[in-house]
């Protein structure tokens, strides 16, 4: 096998035993990129020299027996809304096309402290608004399992790169499903941690009360290693929580005896593709065989999740995106005549895509005088009810398992002209963000077109360990994670 095809764990072992160097791994990754990224378009920015110089550093440290940890010298891809000092960060938007940040996001700093090799910046839906990565201003990313198909979004690049071995693992962000959905579409693992578990400082904000950074990896263990590296309190983020970070890899025991798993009946209703329902139910059955107990639970306010999400997220986004006004950084377009207002209008009109503008306007509307109470305030109240649903369910079970998407990945161009249709596909993932819970995608099968299907595992706040336990046990009893797309 080529080095780029291996996992963090495998490569870390080889590096320790001197069987390869970080430079070797990085070269292998870049070879792969030059082979397939023309077709997949996962990356918005790469620089082999930059990557190799980091790899050389890592090799030096390893030789001096310094900074030894599983991520030293491992090539990692970063979603292009994580600020990287000196390296362009565009958020896949024209309005930040030439923006080079003067500082690193906290999660980037943490990974650099571990000596990773930053391979490049990964494609996404513009400003994280979308579920297909077709929303990127610089062209879509394609699913390595079927180049005509969506890789999911908004962290499409992050998932596709891991899936096609163009990096060993990656970081994405998730506001309504943007890690879990692409992970599912591309057949890799991806976890959205509990809200507040990972710092948001230096992460371009979409919806502040919903955004979280999380890792995508080729298997559960790699994902756990990555989460351990980036989690933790950050004094620069008032919403990050002061709690110790557990050794997530300690949960990878394979033992799920006695664990109760809930299947919410509202997530298996008519309208969901029967392939999906069957595949996920089979996964649940598999866990039963392994010793877990599967029960039915109910999350009664599920039907309100989409409406709640699509009021709160655009509202917060409309405010978060106000700073892109052409005054201090990014794109500036003069108006005709050259007045302040016209500059604002021309800059934001030219710089933002239609979907971004759509959500800003929706958000502005729901916050406006006379509508705030009926929309934003009401949505926040319903959000509490949604969270209570989970609190009730978790009195009966340790984890909840659901599908990730209502259908297998569809072809590019299918839903791009029908935003509402696209929004509806978020039905299974938004509840997790609204309640602030952790949720992980684990591959659990393939569609008849040989496109990946994943399942979602959710647990109580800060109980990522339970999720990893269940995910690992399941994974080790299957071989989905060993399959690779032929690109």
């Amino acid at each position: 096998m080529r080095l780029c095809e291996l996992t963090i764990t495998e490569l870390s072992g080889m590096l320790e035993r001197g069987e390869c160097s970080s430079v070797d791994i990085t070269k292998s990754v870049y070879e792969r990129i030059s082979e397939v990224d023309k077709k997949i378009h996962a990356y918005l920015w790469t620089n082999e020299e930059y990557a190799l110089s980091q790899a050389k550093e890592a090799d030096k440290k390893r030789k001096a027996r310094e900074n030894l940890n599983p991520l030293l010298g491992i090539p990692i891809g970063l979603k292009d809304l994580l600020l990287t000092k000196g390296v362009p960060t565009t958020c896949a938007s024209r309005i930040l096309e030439n923006f080079v940040p003067p500082f690193d996001a906290t999660v980037v700093k943490k990974l650099k402290e571990r000596g990773v090799v930053v391979v490049g910046k990964l494609n996404m839906d513009e400003f994280a608004m979308g579920s297909t990565t077709e929303g990127s201003a610089f062209g879509p990313t394609r699913n390595p399992w079927g180049l005509d198909y969506i890789p999911g979004g908004s962290s499409g690049g992050s998932a596709a790169a891991v899936s096609s071995d163009m990096c060993i693992a990656s970081l994405g962000t998730d506001t309504g499903g943007s890690i879990r959905q692409p992970a599912s579409c591309c057949g890799v693992c991806g976890i959205k941690p509990t809200y507040g578990r990972v710092s948001r400082f230096g992460v371009i904000a979409y919806a502040s009360s919903l955004d979280q950074v999380g890792p995508l990896g080729k298997n559960v263990r790699d994902t756990a290693i990555m989460l351990e590296a980036v989690a933790g309190f950050d004094r620069c983020d008032s919403t990050s929580v002061k709690m110790d970070v557990p050794r997530y890899t300690d949960s990878l025991t394979g033992d799920v005896k006695g664990l109760k798993i809930g299947l919410p009946k509202e997530y298996f209703v008519k309208g969901i593709d029967p392939e999906i329902a069957d595949t996920v139910r089979n996964a649940a059955k598999q866990l039963e065989k392994l010793g877990a107990e599967v029960i039915d639970v109910s999350l009664p306010h599920t039907e309100y999740c989409i409406a709640t999400y699509y009021i709160i997220a655009p509202a917060e986004a409309s405010s978060n995106l106000a700073r892109y006004d052409g005054v201090r950084y990014g794109l500036r377009v003069s108006g005709e005549p050259d007045t302040l207002i016209n500059m604002y209008k021309a800059t934001r009109d030219r710089g933002f895509s239609a979907e971004v503008r759509r959500r800003i306007i929706i958000g502005t509307y729901t916050l406006s005088a006379g509508y705030y109470d009926a929309y934003y305030l009401k949505a926040q109240k319903v959000r509490t009810l949604i969270r209570r649903d989970f609190e009730q369910a978790f009195q009966k079970c340790d984890c909840v398992i659901t599908p990730v998407l209502p259908t297998p990945p569809y072809k590019l161009g299918t839903k791009i002209n029908d935003p509402l249709e696209m929004y509806l596909s978020d039905i299974f993932t938004v509840s997790c963000n609204l309640a602030g819970l952790p949720g992980m995608t684990v591959p659990c099968g393939f569609s008849k077109e040989n496109l990946p299907i994943g399942m979602q595992i959710m647990a109580r706040h800060f109980e990522e360990e339970k999720i990893f336990k269940v995910a690992y046990a399941y994974e080790q009893s299957t071989d989905w994670h060993k399959r690779k797309p032929k690109v």
């Binding site: 940040p101 904000a205 620069c236 008032s238 700073r323 950084y329 604002y344 502005t364």
Partner: protein, 484 residues
């Protein structure tokens, strides 16, 4: 028909914290443009605010000093609008859950005391500054200086309890005094660390309905506030008397033209789309914290005034004037501590000292005559070395040169002449030189005593001890009378 004015003031005060409200940049005034900024206050992508605890404490101090109730639950809200001096496109302020509400301060106008209600005091971050190339109307471009962005402000909103421009100016003075006493704001209206906007309307005397109000801006001193309000009240009354409507608008005070100018057409009602800032968690302020801040409050102007009256036995008028300014009050107490009697010190400070300080717009802390030096001057007067009159010119010299009283007196040979024999000699001379006046005195014009005293004072270049001169002149003249 008689009209009454209804006035409410909105005051913004910059807090004297070392760093900004949501980042650790310096708040120091006067730095080169855009040198006190960081990604957070510049509103770069991905940044997040972290609240400055000292700013919360300062706000609590102001709230407690003005008898407000402090809220247990405190929420920061975003106030959204677009302007180049507002990097994030929103200000972080407080809306539904301000830090404090329902307070009051007492003003005293010529003996009439009145309580002015305080609706709320809340925290918010300041915007930057726009510097226009040339004058505002014709400027081709504007420069943005973001040093001030993120500086902590408190907004103090009064109830519409003020009824006259004088009341408003007095309220502003009291408010400023309290904030300076607390060490929470430096109260500098010229530099903009204390700003005042007014809401003013008029209504028929006796009515309890509110008339249409206008908002007045651009008043940079107590004087401006009083003049602007006077003008605006007049303007509104004239409109009402003509049966015309007062338009609700923002008006700028034009000090040069002595009038308010409407900004009609430029100001639309803003919808700020307030919502709780999701990047900041709601703060709980517990009783323990409130009590520890309350205990740490310094003596406030009203308390100090009462203490001055009680402990120093000076009249209320004096005490009020001295405590108007904390530095002046401290100066007074130092002088007394150094040995000067309270009444003498307060008189001297209110007359001679303030005259000099006000002419140069200096504060008592910048006075070239230090408290111990002023006490020294007193000792020279009390000891008879110089007269009170001479002392005034000695003081003026001390002020100009910073020298001690003793040195000035010595250098200028101003020591009072108190030698009986010498004075007697001068009196004899004066009597000899003015026979006509002597005649007149002897025929009954007793008031001419003063003439002879004056002559002796002239002969001695003012240095003769006036009381002694008076005594000796009286003696000699009376003896002459009896002798006759």
């Amino acid at each position: 028909m008689e009209y009454e004015a209804v006035i409410g003031l909105e005051v913004h005060a910059q807090l004297l914290t070392d760093s900004k409200l949501f980042c650790s940049c310096s708040t120091r005034f006067g730095a080169a443009p855009n040198t006190q900024t960081c990604p957070v206050c510049l509103g770069m992508p991905g940044v997040l605010p972290v609240v400055n605890k000292k700013a919360i404490e300062f706000t609590m101090r102001a709230a407690l000093a003005m008898h407000c109730t402090i809220a247990k639950k405190n929420v920061f809200a975003r106030k959204n609008y677009f302007y180049p001096d507002l990097p994030k496109g929103y200000q972080i302020s407080q809306y539904e859950f301000p830090l404090s509400k329902s307070g009051w301060i007492e003003i005293d106008l010529n003996g009439n005391k009145k309580k002015i209600g305080i609706t709320r005091i809340h925290m918010e971050d300041d915007a930057g500054k726009l510097v226009h190339a040339g004058d505002f109307a014709r400027a081709e471009h504007s420069y943005v200086d973001l040093n001030r962005t993120g500086v902590p402000l408190i907004e103090i909103v009064s109830e519409p309890d003020l009824r006259a421009p004088e009341e408003a100016a007095e309220y502003m003075r009291q408010l400023r005094n309290i904030l300076v006493y607390l060490g929470v704001c430096d109260g500098n209206m010229q530099e903009g660390s204390l700003r005042c906007d007014a809401n003013v309307s008029v209504r028929p005397q006796g009515s309890n309905k509110f008339g249409t109000r206008t908002e007045l801006k651009n008043m940079n001193s107590f004087r401006h506030i009083q003049r602007a309000l006077s003008y605006e009240i007049d303007r509104q009354i004239k409109l009402c008397e003509c049966g015309e409507e007062v338009v609700q608008e923002t008006r700028l005070w034009d000090e040069g033209g002595g009038k308010t100018i409407g900004m009609r057409g430029k100001e639309e009602a803003h919808d700020y789309r307030y919502f709780p800032d999701p990047d900041l968690i709601p703060m709980t302020i517990d009783n323990e914290w409130i009590e520890s801040v309350r205990k740490s409050l310094p003596e406030l102007p009203a308390q100090k005034k009462d203490r001055f009256i009680k402990n120093y036995g000076i009249p209320e008028y004096d005490a009020a004037l001295l405590t108007q300014d904390k530095l002046l009050a401290d100066y007074f107490e130092d002088v007394v501590k150094q040995g000067a009697p309270a009444k003498w010190a307060s008189n001297w400070i209110m007359t001679e000292l303030l005259r000099e300080l006000n002419a140069e717009e200096k504060s008592a802390a910048e006075c070239p005559v230090k408290p111990d030096q002023l006490a020294g001057l007193y000792r020279l007067i009390a000891g008879g070395t110089i007269s009170g009159k001479i002392a005034k010119s000695v003081f003026a010299d001390m002020y100009r040169t910073g020298k001690n009283a003793e040195d000035v007196v010595k250098e200028q040979g101003l020591t009072q002449l108190s030698d009986d024999a010498q004075i007697a000699k001068l009196v004899d001379e004066a009597i000899q030189e003015s026979p006509k006046q002597v005649e007149q005195f002897l025929s009954g014009r007793d008031k001419l005593l003063g003439f002879f005293v004056g002559q002796v004072m002239k002969k001695s270049q003012g240095k003769a001890n006036p009381q002694l001169v008076n005594k000796i002149v009286t003696d000699k003249l009376n003896r002459l009378k009896e002798g006759k």
